[in-house]
Amino acid sequence: MRLLILGISHQTAPVELRERVDFQARGVADALRALAARGSTREAAVVSTCNRAELVVACDDAAETRADLTRFFGDFNHVSPAEVTPHLYELVDLDAARHLFRVAAGLDSLVVGEPQILGQVKDAHALATETQTVGPVLNRLFHASFAVGKRVRTETALGSGAVSISFAAVSLARKIFGDLDGRNVVVIGAGEMGKLTARHMKAQGVQHVTIVSRTMAHAARTAEAIGGASAAPWDDMDAVMSASDIVITATGAASPILTKAHVEAIMRPRRNRPLFVIDIAMPRDVEAAAGEIEQVFLYNIDDLQATVRENLARRASEVARAEAIVRDEVDKFGAWLRSRGAIPTVVALRQRFEDIRRAELERLEFKLSALPPDARARVDEITHLIVEKLLLTPTEQLKALGDTDASRNKSRPPR
């Protein structure tokens, strides 16, 4: 049985093509049934996300199946083969396993280490199981890939640290306040950026979001767009800020709207309850010196960007450890696949020996029939034991043969 992966991803195909080759939109279950109906595969699964579309199959003849899958890629998505083929990559056997493991670990993702991909790989397997297109080989392969994803997540820092501005802000808020529910957020400025961040905070479970804008109507509109938020007039800004834990400033003002003295005045009645100020405006809305106040944590857009860069650098340094886990699991999977490859030979050998034994017993039937039943049973037992003992060495040697194959494969330079 051969493993084969055929696909396109953000690394090989432009977004225009990825949009058109979208199994998700056309129905993965339909794709699996269509694929099964073609008969070129033994087992099949489809991994489809916005960044990749991959067919993961087990088949008998890799070359033949490859040609058929290429046609299927075009047919199913109504894209001409000439358009898809230059962007398609194909991976066979252990290279295919390595690829799926790297995908599940987030090593092949656009943002290295992003956590969603493991769930998407799991979904792909669940759907293929539902459609009954997977069998023992793909089951083993997918479960091994889940194990890789889990190991990489727990044993390396590949997925740690926020790698987008809004997540960096949320992660900081969590490090200051712990839980975010019960926290109040005020957004100053009703622009698009403020709205986005407020929506993000809301999704993270903060208690209340208040929008403050110079134009009350504008604030009310934004609050309504976010849903579950309220608006407050500009003059109430200080009162609202006193009751809040997180302040997001995103106005288009040309000069700072919050000076250090202003923030100090807000802090006084709060009795040093921490205040997290996120200044995402450009030019800045909050005087930098305000960050010197004891319990004020001031981050502007550059600071957040810097933490994102640091996190990305840290992730990059973890790649080697994650790749080592992938190698380790590929070796394990390879051993399993080889032992599976030896099974038909061993079975055939056993069958042959057993046939010979039976034939010989039948040939000697006329002599054996004179024996009492328990002696006959003894003869049967002894011949069986002889066959078992004869088979012992060849079976071991078959296994050893598989291992030398493996070491030959390993000594090849890595792809």
Binding site: A157, L172, K175, F177, G178, R271, Y299, A306
Partner: protein, 275 residues
């Protein structure tokens, strides 16, 4: 006999440090397991001593230190299990190892002086030991608070940012530890005063140690200074909003006095508490 728990505490220290650096879950569980074994071994040691002398070994300075280490280990384990937070272990275990070295190096047979009679004495020592264990935790929590605070303020989110719980959680844990410690410190001091008053009117009134039991004695003075520091911290947290970093510094200062009082003053300076 105190060397077995010492060795286990040291092993736990190594595991906690390793876990803190590498964040390997298995190493973390190993660290906790080692500390649990250390606490078990220590319980056994203290239990043996209790059976030997007929009371919990808290009357002598050295055995009181051993009992204190045991209490602190248990208190820390309780906090770790309730908060599921292991980062603090790397700060607590060095303290356990350092203090446990004293009873391990000075194996003394606990002999309770005839002067120290009555149930009040037991309450006095055990509540103070409990208070000091709480203050030790508060100090460690305070130190970690400051480390995390500085990283967030400096906008360089690195080592501690990835490993410690949030500032708010640390601040709250510090406050709880201070409140518990303060209550036991107050009880311990009051009971000590009452006990002294009783002893002065009793059979041993002529003992020089009992005569030295007044505020000028370094040990008693240091305990009183401690009480003032922690009372101020509690007052400041409630009335003038001194939480966060200031509370953390005060907890460190308070525990420094506790440590001085507990080791050098007890061994070399006090005239009233050298039993």
């Amino acid at each position: 006999m105190n060397t077995v728990p010492l060795a286990l505490y040291a092993a736990a220290l190594v595991a906690y440090a390793w876990h803190f650096a590498q964040r390997n879950a298995l190493v973390g569980r190993t660290a906790t397991t080692l500390l649990i074994f250390a606490a078990f071994a220590h319980t056994f040691v203290i239990g043996m001593q209790t059976m030997e002398v007929g009371h919990v070994p808290i009357a002598g300075t050295t055995s009181a230190i051993s009992t204190f280490v045991w209490l602190l280990a248990l208190a820390y384990l309780y906090i770790e299990m309730t908060t599921d937070e292991r980062a603090m272990g790397v700060f607590i275990t060095p303290l356990l190892v350092a203090l446990q070295t004293i009873p391990a190096l000075r194996p003394s047979v606990e002999a309770q002086s005839d002067v120290l009679r009555g149930p009040l004495f037991g309450i006095h020592v055990s509540s103070l030991l409990f208070a000091y264990a709480s203050f030790a935790l508060a100090c460690v929590i305070g130190i970690t608070y400051v480390l995390l605070f500085k990283e967030i303020k400096a906008k360089h989110l690195g080592f501690f940012y990835a490993r410690l719980p949030s500032l708010q959680v640390l601040d709250r844990m510090n406050q709880v530890a201070i409140v518990i410690g303060w209550i036991f410190l107050t009880i311990g001091i009051i009971v000590g005063v009452v006990w002294t008053a009783q002893a002065r009117g009793g059979y041993d009134a002529g003992d020089p140690r009992i005569q030295a039991m007044h505020l000028q004695d370094p040990k008693i003075l240091a305990a009183f200074v401690c009480w003032i520091v922690y009372s101020f911290e509690l007052f400041a947290a409630r009335r003038i909003g001194w939480g966060g970093r200031r509370a953390a510094y005060l907890s460190a200062l308070g525990f420094l006095i506790v440590l001085l009082n507990f080791v050098p003053i007890s061994y070399f300076l006090t005239k009233s508490h050298n039993f």
